[in-house]
């Protein structure tokens, strides 16, 4: 079911710089790698409306049949709800295609960029993104 494997650095690097998701409770850059953009398909195992950030867990099966449960981080439930997403929009068992930025250390923990059901890939259920915070350290 995998449609792409791991980072697509060359093609997506520029896009990544322009649209790194802003996680309001903490910064994107400490945990996620903007150069590790992934696009994968899988089956939702859990939609967790948890604080401080929502998470969607997706089983992704690779070419060798190995299953990895991806942990996709969203923003907070109140923010996601404000975008119009409700508890019936995505459920365990749904087959989805998602894009995200992999974790710096644990790659299967990703910051979610967009997610859609596989039979309607162009109809994004959720799109996260926003201007990247300017660097704050002098160096």
């Amino acid at each position: 079911m995998r449609t792409a494997v791991g980072p697509s650095v060359a093609a997506l690097g520029v896009v990544a710089c322009l649209a790194v998701p802003l996680l309001a409770h903490h910064s994107f850059g400490t945990e996620y790698d903007a150069s590790k953009k992934v696009k994968l398909t899988g089956v939702v195992t859990n939609v967790a409306w948890t604080n401080p950030h929502m998470r969607v867990y997706v089983d992704v099966t690779d070419a060798n049949g190995k299953v990895t449960n991806w942990n996709l981080e969203l923003t907070s439930p109140n923010s996601v709800r404000r975008q119009g997403w409700g508890k019936n929009d995505l459920k365990a068992g749904d087959k989805v295609i998602f894009e995200g930025y992999a974790g710096k250390v644990v790659e299967s923990r990703a910051s979610l960029l967009s997610i859609a059901k596989v039979d309607e890939p162009e109809r994004k259920l959720l799109v996260q993104g926003g201007p990247q915070e300017p660097a704050t350290k002098a160096n």
Binding site: R55, K104, V106
Partner: protein, 272 residues
Amino acid sequence: MRRIAATLLALALPLLVPSHAQRGAAPGDVGQVNVGGTPRISAADAARPVPRMPDGKPDLTGPWVGGGSNADIEREGGLKPGELPLLPWARELRDTRKTEDEPYTACLPMGVPRVNPYPWKFAMTYTSKGLTQIYVLHETGDAGAHRVIYMDGRKHPEPDDLFPSWFGHSIGHWEGDTLVVDTIGYNDKFWFDSRGTPHTEQLHTIERWTPVNYGTLVNELTIIDPGAFSKPVTLKFTATHIRPDLDLLEFICLEDNQYGKAGGFTPASERK
């Protein structure tokens, strides 16, 4: 007449404001999330007059977004790099702190004047004695805590009667349309921003909140902290009114905070 007119305006305002203020988008019809996903109002709506309470005072309720520091108090407060008059030790501490160690990321309060891209409001509390308190309510970021500004004319307690706290002791008064908030009694635990700008328990802040129009609220913040700053400094922030139909929603930060795991680090608060 002025009071009646002000009352009528206050009552009519919700009717004047935005037809586009619908409650959320249709399920599945979710657009691009902007900063924090908090919908703003239009420029035309923002330019409307300042709403007023029946007593003629500005209605500062909001909900607002912005109006304080977040990533870098120096830049966001309107200063150029290096202009924040930090004492050498404080500058060194700021520049060696790591963003991931900010207490806020461990679900502790943001303190003053930090905000994040989520709604907050001044809850103006009128009793039979008039406006006695204003509560500052942040939807996300203060771990469920509220801040209180006493408007009943009381003074600060004597220093020995204060204990160091996240929001200190705040007393407010009006100067025309400006809400002036004077706060002492802070602890030194929160950071002014995710950059790590520090302060000490000597911190004394004076906020001057002035509504410019319906959609704009300016916060002129004076920081007085001889423990960390070489001189007082005044910064300027601007809060923006968000869609008035948006309610503050629940946020229980400690529920499942997984911060650090994707990046392979343990935040400072958990290393103790």
